[in-house]
Symmetry: C2
Subunit: 169 residues, 2 copies
């Protein structure tokens, strides 16, 4: 009898560990790092505070939301530029679709990509202190695409520490 309970307890613990492994894998595939920058998907990013929503036209046709870790939110709150090392910004993007229950509204459809900017002023000194990572279905985009990130940020928003998004009140 006692050994049955022990087996049951062991099985329960094993299934809990397995569930946790699965949860971790779906949330952050730590094995997949972006080319050039080695940025990985940070765990728990979906729970981060929202900085602002946005929208991009054709050919993307996406609704987007930019989230930030605690350091990012603090920097926005204090209007601190440049953003301090440790800042991470996440951009979540979805195809724009008419809302199923109210087609006059546009809602997020299929998730298209997740993108991150990680501040490390020494590690990424050649790209304004920012490392970039773009992921589609959890897998990093190719090197050519990552090479384009900083060029565009540098061309448009150098004066805002290479960050496009402003905090939406």
């Amino acid at each position: 009898m006692k050994s049955m309970w022990l087996s049951l307890a062991a099985a329960a613990i094993a299934s809990l560990i397995f569930a946790k492994m699965l949860a971790a894998r779906s949330d952050a595939d730590t094995g997949a790092a972006s080319p050039i920058f080695g940025v990985t998907i940070p765990e728990g990013y979906r729970q981060w505070q929202m900085i602002a929503p946005s929208q991009l036209g054709e050919p993307f046709d996406e609704l987007r939301a930019i989230l930030g870790n605690d350091m990012a939110i603090k920097a926005y709150g204090g209007k601190t530029l440049p953003f301090p090392d440790g800042t991470v910004l996440a951009k979540l993007a979805w195809k724009r679709i008419p809302a199923s229950d109210f087609p006059a509204a546009i809602a997020p459809g299929v998730a298209t990509s997740i993108q991150f900017m990680v501040k490390d002023s020494k590690g990424y000194a050649a790209t304004g202190g920012w490392g970039f990572g773009k992921f589609v279905d959890g897998k990093p985009a190719d090197e050519a695409e990552h090479r384009a990130c900083f060029a565009c940020h540098e061309a448009h928003v150098k004066a805002h520490d290479f960050v496009f998004t402003r905090f939406a009140p």
Copy 2:
């Protein structure tokens, strides 16, 4: 000497209390409750987790973001319907404007309104268990506007516990 320190301490405590009052006022004008429902702006709602962004066409022409308190997020995670009492959803809305540094993108402009749905199945039994509050510049919209809330939610999303927004992954 001792009484000087006591006065200083009292002054410090008073100024702390005053600062806290000011902070509370700017974050949530607890004096302003919505007509019919008596819903007020919940403190700290801007820090809540994002459920999804959305967009609404003319005449609104708005970018929106729907946030939820912990209970809301937990209910979405567990696909729990109806939402439990204590659930609060916040809808933040801004005019759509071309992003200043990259006009091909649309960014949040002026904040137009903040709207809340508060679940209290007994208190708001006549309106599906939901109380509504819409605020413009911190002040509640009028009674006619609040009377329209539930009619629209009932017409379109009764099967989803009267809530339009789905969680965006």
